[in-house]
């Protein structure tokens, strides 16, 4: 069987609801050993063009079974379609009507519901992502930027051959130094809290809660409520599929560093402010466990870095402020039905790193993120609407997520503190959404079904 990544074990449980690893795209299951990637956003002039494009790529799509090992030369692709894209591929009207409303409308049309307004409004998005011409995404993974360029050329050749396929836009991604741990442009360690899927045999790290039923992320499996129901039709199209919400999040590193300097006289004070906004020190150490001083070895230890709760350990937010990013994104034991609110995050950094001490250079840099789930409205949209951008979250009254929420200079941030709490008024925007979309990631059989819609045409 060869080597396996830590995310897929050697023994797979054989039950009636066994995960069909060979049919699931790898994207939400495991990460290929890639330090670079390219997202290509495509448009099909007609169904035949789309069908030809898909047919030529199916064998390159990474499955959960194949991806995740230490295979160095693997170049895998992940494919997804918008609702308009499924229509462009020739899916019939009756089937299209069985897909959920929010997916059909698309993220741009739902932006106000998500709180993505002002400078983040779809009117300002780049790359054609708010246009109805966005039909599909091809995610090309590569070991490094050099290999990514070879992938790009290969895909470009393929697209040229399929007359009627257009590249709407693209985004190049690569990890930024230091490379020993995942992090983003602000310097925060990332990927510290991910749900574990039941049936993969992976043990959740302490504090992460129990493994979550596969149906919360993949269609066709029982979810935390019960057996699968109301799946899009036909069955072969929806089974083993997932939805992902894509967000291109620009990070204003200069503004962020200026803010830290403004609110902290010493480097230690600046780290403290940065930690209070996030809920973790940039090292990853959670504020609940390390409220006063950073503890990098704690941040680097997955067996400890997620082992905390809020209701008993930090009810008033003296460690992790009530409105801090990680507390909003996962309220843990202070919210109900949390097992129905889990999401799988993927993505990476784009743009050149801004060296410490260098002034803002105006180049776009940030994170291109995917949020995977089985129900966009219940999982992703709930998180955006009720946690990220709702000023009444935890009855804070005039606060949104300080890092990721839509900030326009009028919202505050309360940092509970003894004897007097610290209240920062008029938070600047550290991030701006430059684009977004809802994609459906079909299973392999579903991809073949989509390709067959135009077979012999």
């Amino acid at each position: 069987m060869g080597q396996r990544s830590q995310e897929i074990p050697g023994v797979l449980t054989e039950t009636a609801d066994s995960l069909d690893f060979a049919d699931l795209q790898h994207f939400l299951m495991s990460r290929p050993p890639a330090r670079a990637a390219r997202y290509e956003f495509l448009s099909f002039r007609n169904a035949i063009a789309g069908g030809a494009w898909l047919t030529g790529l199916i064998d390159k799509v990474g499955t959960a079974k194949a991806v995740g090992g230490d295979i160095v030369d693997s170049r895998w692709v992940t494919l997804g379609f918008t609702w308009i894209g499924l229509k462009a591929m020739g899916l019939d009207e009756a089937s299209l009507a069985t897909f959920p409303d929010e997916f059909r409308q698309g993220m741009a049309a739902r932006a106000q519901i998500l709180g993505i307004t002002g400078a983040s409004d779809p009117d300002h998005w780049v790359g054609g992502l708010s246009s109805p011409a966005l039909h599909a995404i091809a995610i090309l993974f590569a070991r490094d930027a050099g290999e990514r360029e070879r992938c790009r050329q290969e895909h470009e050749q393929h697209v040229k051959k399929c007359k009627g396929v257009e590249l709407l836009s693209a985004l190049d991604l690569e990890a930024i130094p230091p490379f020993d741990h995942a992090h983003e442009h602000f310097g925060y360690r990332d990927r510290l809290s991910q749900p574990v899927i039941e049936g993969t045999g992976v043990e959740p790290t302490p504090g992460s809660g129990p493994a979550i039923k596969a149906g919360e992320f993949f269609l066709g499996y029982p979810d935390e409520k019960g057996p699968p129901a109301n799946l899009p039709q036909p069955d072969i199209l929806s089974r083993n599929g997932s939805y992902v919400a894509y967000l291109r999040i620009e990070e204003h590193v200069g503004a962020f560093r200026d803010f830290l300097r403004q609110h902290g006289e010493t480097p230690d004070q600046q780290e403290w402010i940065a930690a209070k906004l996030m809920g973790r020190w940039r090292s990853g150490a959670p504020m609940v466990l390390a409220p006063k001083k950073d503890a990098p070895e704690l941040g680097a230890d997955p067996q400890r870095s997620n082992d905390f709760n809020y209701r008993t350990m930090d009810p008033h937010g003296y460690g992790c402020p009530l409105g801090a990013h990680i507390r909003r994104m996962n309220p843990r034991d202070t919210a109900v039905n949390m097992n129905r609110r889990k999401m799988i995050r993927r993505g990476g950094t784009y743009g050149p790193p801004l060296p410490e001490g260098a002034p803002e250079d105006g180049k776009e840099r940030g994170i291109a993120a995917f949020v995977g789930c089985a129900s966009l409205v219940r999982q992703f949209e709930f998180a955006m609407n009720v946690w990220t951008n709702d000023p009444t979250f935890h009855e804070l009254e005039n606060e949104r997520d300080p890092i990721f929420g839509t900030q326009d200079g009028t919202f505050d941030m309360t940092i509970p503190n003894r004897p007097i709490r610290k209240k920062i008024k008029g938070l600047p925007a550290f991030t701006t959404i430059r684009g977004g979309a809802y994609f459906f990631l079909p299973g392999i059989k579903a991809l073949r079904y989509l390709a067959s819609l135009n077979a012999g045409s």
């Binding site: 409303d101 929010e102 739902r110 106000q112 519901i113 009117d123 409520k225 019960g226 057996p227 129901a229 109301n230 109900v336 039905n337 129905r340 409205v377 219940r378 949209e381 709930f382 609407n385 009720v386 709702d390 000023p391 009444t392 009855e395 009254e397 005039n398 009028t410 919202f411």
Partner: protein
């Protein structure tokens, strides 16, 4: 391009949040001033009486007693676990049966602290858990596949919702949590003063 700027929740709460002055708010026929979209439909604004709904539906023939029996059921459930309805963030709940000439109707009126759209999924999950949902099966229009079809359940509540055209609050916009905290503080001070006698 014209940009519509609906009043954001932030603006409305800051401008109007004054619990010291009783206030009344008249509302348009639709139940909202500007159509602000929620995940499942338009959002009804926060008023001096916080948030609420009045769901009115016709009772299926012969089901009156079944509906009335739920009064006892809920009483028991809350006795067993006083926090059972906490996710609904209720101030008050009133269930009424009435017949004013067009057959027996059931009204479910609730006053709570989070808008309808945000808490619907948690409410339905709670209803299923506590068995409250089964009172609704006695109502005409309730979806047969309610156990698996959340959008249909949400549609039922929205279709049968009768928005208020006037709401009044003696202590406007104050949440149940804030009231309880204030009372707790008062009780603690009172105890402390008594101990100092």
């Amino acid at each position: 391009m014209a940009i519509t700027t609906p009043i954001t929740p932030a603006q409305s709460t800051i401008a109007e949040k004054d619990w010291t002055k009783p206030a009344a708010m008249a509302l348009p026929k639709e139940g909202y001033f500007e159509r602000e979209p929620g995940r499942y439909g338009p959002i009804f604004p926060r008023t001096p009486a916080c948030y609420g709904f009045s769901v009115v539906a016709k009772v299926k023939p012969g089901r009156e007693q079944a509906v009335r029996d739920y009064g006892k059921h809920i009483e028991e459930a809350v006795k067993q676990d006083p926090s059972v309805l906490a996710p609904l963030r209720l101030h008050y709940l009133r269930w009424v049966l009435f017949d004013v000439g067009s057959g027996l109707h059931f009204m479910y009126q609730g006053i709570f602290d989070t808008d309808f759209d945000k808490y619907l999924e948690d409410a339905v999950a709670l209803f299923v858990k506590t068995g409250i949902t089964t009172v609704f099966v006695n109502l005409e229009g309730w979806p047969e596949d309610w156990k698996t079809n959340l959008p249909a359940v949400i549609r039922f509540f929205r279709d049968h919702q009768c928005p208020s055209f006037l709401e009044y609050g003696e202590y406007p916009y104050v949440t149940a949590d804030e009231i309880k905290k204030a009372l707790q503080l008062k009780a603690s001070f009172s105890t402390m003063l008594d101990l100092m006698q």
